[in-house]
Amino acid sequence: MKKTLPFLLLFCLQSIVAQKYITRSGISTFKASVTAFEPIEAINKSSSAVINNKGDIAALLLIKGFHFNVALMQEHFNENYMKSDQFSTATFKGKLIGFSFEKLSTTKKYTLNGILTIKGIAKKIITEAVISMRNEKLNFRTTFSVTPQDFEIKIPTIVRKKIANDIIISVNYELAKK
């Protein structure tokens, strides 16, 4: 008994520490479409994210993982707007205020606070996130908007009217227990 107790404690401790949910195939989309022009939107189906018991959240997107319907648009996005050879990732680090795994049984809204880094430039994001639990999987959804100027993305005047100034980013991740 004396020997098993420390082991048991260690085991319990580990299960607390190791409680986190991860995904490597999260879906992130953005829309910068202006009505009457060709839609400008892309989807990334390989976003990575980790959420732990304290509500800390970290996400990483590979810019080259964005898919556009028009291949030329994808090429311009990577080469001219995002400079993805130099800045290959976009990251988000933040916190879900008041989050804990115990509350997971119901769908709940949380305030999400964090830093979004694109092209090496950081921007503070405050938004609302919806979290629910379905079939042992944690579903994380949020939407917020940014502008091209936030990340020093220059848009040539010739296409200026075709790209919306508010770019809407939506995220829908299904995270599994790790």
């Binding site: 490597r24 994210a49 028009v70």
Partner: protein, 127 residues
């Protein structure tokens, strides 16, 4: 006079069609086709991670053929040797199981330093 006019009209129409077609095929050019793309790297998945860590910048958008052992299967793809996450072009992994060897061809999209993995998409199974 009349003949000259119709000749000019014909040349004008011909040029418009050519220019129209060229610009259309430039603007709506197809996406990279993984089946026919030239292979840029061929090897074992374990060696590839080392290569990527040496110089991560040169690899994105390259076409990679990798052989490795499946260690995890999910709805979208597989993980090879705990290091490479491969997402399938057409999810066809229903009959794949862990601990089997596989060779895939895919498009490298980058190194994920959050999960410390290399990511490939549009993967197809070769063997």
């Amino acid at each position: 006079m009349n003949l000259q006019k119709s000749k000019a009209l014909f040349i004008f129409l011909f040029l418009s069609v050519v220019i129209g077609f060229t610009s259309y095929s430039y603007i709506y050019k197809p996406h990279k086709n993984i089946e026919s793309a030239k292979v840029d790297y061929h090897g074992a998945s374990k060696d590839f991670l080392k290569k990527v860590k040496e110089n991560a910048i040169i690899w994105p958008d390259k076409t990679i053929v990798l052989t490795g052992v499946i260690c995890e299967v999910d709805n979208n793809g597989i993980i090879l040797d705990n290091t490479i996450y491969c997402q399938f072009k057409n999810p066809e992994n229903a009959n794949l199981s862990n601990q089997t060897q596989i060779t895939i061809k895919g498009n490298m999209i980058g190194y994920d330093d959050l999960l410390e993995e290399v990511k490939l998409n549009q993967c197809i199974i070769l063997k």
